[in-house]
């Protein structure tokens, strides 16, 4: 059935209205307010409408001189990038393998759906519980240490299992791998099997099929998954706080602390900078692929 585009065009705009409204109220408006407030002045008990750059200058205070080593902001971002990068790398590797297995090795659709649901089981509990449940496992007197001690592999409990960068990345991977699996699986399932078969028939090795066919064709899923993981980890302070024993820095924690001390303009300025950096990372990632075209 062919409908002339010119005829329906005036009505199409209305269809976008509900979403545009939600987008405006829950995204544009708060964002504009945050940016506005980031230029305001504040005291211990009040925020004062103004247009000053002090909040931004304060964030980068001491960052140019390098007299006392790296400034707080740089250190915090380096720490955040570190968690972001390793979490991204590991969730990508894991997510790709799981999605690949689900898409190409599981042939029956009911089984596929079933295994897919299995992947979501951890999400039936709150993320705080998922995090906290690592503690009895990894602690000084936890199950892992007790197991190794009883086997005689170690004679002192391993301390870095918990409250370390290791435990932070472990928990983040645990929390966010599904965010990689879903989009990658989604793109893999759409790859035309006959292409894979053709390559196989033409004598391509397993490796060649993965690198020359599967990866390029699931690039959209990889990028979307990466955007999910990177944005979530960049703003995270709960996981890094709990699993890092509150001793590791994250940008989110700094914003959280400032909010608790009623330093809203300072927190807003930090949030704006975090947003700019995150958007830049996403921009770079989308350079690898035109998501709109691929969808």
């Amino acid at each position: 059935m062919q409908v002339s585009l010119g005829k329906i065009k005036p009505h199409v705009g209305w269809l976008a209205l509900p979403f545009a409204l939600i987008f405006f109220v829950y995204f544009i408006l708060p964002l504009v307010l945050t940016i506005v407030v980031s230029f305001w002045d504040y005291t211990d008990y009040a925020i004062i409408p103004d247009f000053i750059f002090d909040n931004y200058i304060y964030i980068f205070d001491g960052c140019l001189s390098n007299e006392e080593g790296l400034c707080l902001t740089f250190k915090t971002y380096i720490s955040t990038f570190f968690f972001c990068f390793f979490t991204w790398l590991i969730t990508l590797a894991l997510g790709f393998c799981v999605a690949y297995f689900l898409a190409f090795y599981v042939n029956s659709i009911p089984l596929q759906v079933c295994l897919f649901l299995v992947c979501t089981i951890p999400f039936w509990t709150s993320n705080v519980i998922r995090m906290v449940s690592w503690i009895p496992l990894l602690g000084r007197n936890g199950l892992v240490n007790e197991f190794f001690l009883s086997l005689g592999i170690i004679d002192q409990p391993i301390e870095w299992l918990l409250y370390s960068s290791f435990s932070v990345v472990l928990a983040l991977v645990h929390l966010y791998t599904l965010f990689m699996i879903v989009p990658i699986f989604n793109s893999m399932i759409r790859i035309d099997r006959s292409i894979v078969e053709a390559a196989y028939d033409a004598g391509a090795s397993h490796r060649q099929i993965i690198f020359n066919i599967i990866i390029p064709l699931s690039k959209t899923g990889i990028i979307i998954g990466s955007i999910f993981v990177v944005t979530v980890v960049m703003g995270d302070f709960l996981t890094i706080g709990i699993m890092g024993g509150q001793q590791l820095a994250s940008v989110g924690k700094i914003i959280n602390t400032e909010m608790n001390y009623l330093q809203f303009p300072g927190a807003a300025a930090n949030a704006v900078i975090l947003l700019i950096i995150t958007i830049f990372i996403i921009y770079v990632m989308t350079k690898f692929i035109d998501i709109r075209k691929e969808l």
């Binding site: 993320n127 602690g139 936890g142 820095a249 959280n256 009623l262």
Partner: protein, 422 residues
């Protein structure tokens, strides 16, 4: 992602809030009240269990609708939405932020029946037996009065108008695992003792953490602060430098931000010495682990909370608030608080509601004659046991400083964040 913090002030909140809401709903129709007033009570809920609300309704016919949030959130609400509640329960150290905003009124002490019996710690800065209490930090006696009912400044002298009518307070110290340490601990300096490397913890709440840090620095003999609760920039630098070095050398197993984290660290043996709050000690003990709220020779860090009236509460509702506060101080609640290991503001009235054994254990530092029970019926101590830190005089008389808001608050928060990032 919202950070759900559980502080000591909230432990009872979840149960109290939900149970109370349903409990009251069922309870109300049974009593015929000529003019029922429901007060919107903003606070952290440490003192408002289900029983308290029932008893309140029985005695006065007043109802309370509880708005339970964190301490920081209470401050935010008072500043940004002063008309969203009729009475607020907040901490004294928040006052330097709240009072200049003009959003809270001075409470007329002439309308508080038991005002003359409020413990002298609040009104004079000394214990009932005349022992001087440390006044560093935002000590209640320094911010107790306003010049008038609408003043934005603290009064230097005693006036008719109080900023907060005190309700609950306590003296905090370090918690230790005596079974894992195996020797006596008597100084704050032990927190940074290399002997406990990787087994110590402090809290990641800058305004309280820095006070504990200052107690440690002073105990180590590194520096003597004129006022720990109001440091200069260089004093903040010095304090944070010592803690940053300790952190870098691996002294701390973790920092904690909520009550449950502190309990887990201690109960699992991840830490053996740490900054802690008194109900957390009880929670560790409830798991069958030895845990002591260790009195230290340098003294305690104290905190206190009380009721304030927002400027938007007027007329009949304001009268009801005074009725409520008078009821609160009339003894029943005081006994309820004392039984949890906190202290009540009016001691003589609370005493009437406690047994001799209870009063002896909680307030006089005497050995318990029988089992000591919490208000919910859990056993907290058996016959022969003595409360950690002893009597009210010993504990409150040993206070060295109070939770505080510093003039250099912004700088302090930044330096604290730098330590965390180091």
């Amino acid at each position: 992602m919202k950070n759900k913090k559980l502080s000591r002030r909230q432990i009872l909140k979840l149960s109290a809030g939900t149970v109370a809401a349903t409990g009251l709903g069922l309870y109300a129709p049974a009593v015929i009240s000529s003019d029922p007033i429901t007060l919107r009570y903003l606070g952290t809920a440490v003192s408002m269990g289900d029983e308290v609300q029932k008893k309140l309704f029985e005695d006065t016919g007043l109802k309370v609708k509880f708005i339970a949030v964190t301490t920081d959130e209470v401050t935010k609400r008072v500043l940004t939405q002063p008309n969203s509640f009729d009475i607020v329960d907040t901490e004294y150290f928040s006052l330097p932020k709240l009072v200049p905003s003009g959003n809270i009124l001075g409470m007329d002490t002439k309308r508080i029946k038991e005002w003359d019996n409020v413990t002298s710690i609040f009104t004079k800065g000394m214990t009932p037996e005349g022992k001087k209490v440390g006044l560093q930090g935002t000590a209640p006696s320094k911010v107790m009065y306003l010049e008038g009912s609408t003043g934005k400044k603290f009064a230097g002298d005693v006036t008719q108008y109080a900023t907060l009518i005190p309700t609950i307070y306590n003296a905090d110290t370090l918690g230790i695992r005596p079974d894992l340490i195996g020797r006596p601990i008597n100084s704050w300096a032990e927190l940074l003792n290399p002997e406990f490397k990787g087994k110590a913890a402090t809290l990641n709440i800058p305004s309280i953490g820095i006070m504990d840090a200052a107690m440690v620095v002073e105990a180590m003999g590194e520096y003597k602060y004129p006022d720990k609760g109001n440091m200069t920039k260089s004093e903040i630098d010095l304090t944070m430098k010592i803690f940053t070095e300790a952190k870098k050398s691996g002294q701390f197993r973790a920092f904690w931000t909520d009550f449950n984290e502190s309990v887990n660290l201690m109960a699992s043996g991840e830490t053996v010495i740490q900054s802690m709050w008194s109900p957390a000690i009880t929670a560790v003990k409830a798991q069958g682990k030895e845990c002591i709220y260790q009195p230290l020779k340098e003294g305690y860090r104290a905190w206190a909370a009380g009721f304030a009236l927002p400027k938007t509460t007027k007329g009949k509702t304001a009268d009801a608030v005074y009725d409520f506060v008078n009821w609160y101080l009339s003894g029943w609640v005081g006994a309820y608080l004392n039984r949890q290991g906190y202290y009540s503001a009016v001691l003589p009235t609370a005493k009437q509601y406690m047994s001799e054994d209870e009063w002896g254990f909680w307030m006089e530092g005497k050995a318990a004659k029988g089992d000591i029970l919490s208000p919910t019926g859990d056993k907290l101590a058996s016959a022969g046991e003595i409360r950690d830190g002893g009597s009210y005089e010993d504990r409150m008389g040993g206070v060295a400083c109070w939770n505080a808001t510093m003039d250099e608050n912004k700088y302090m928060v930044r330096k604290w964040n730098e330590m965390v990032a180091a």
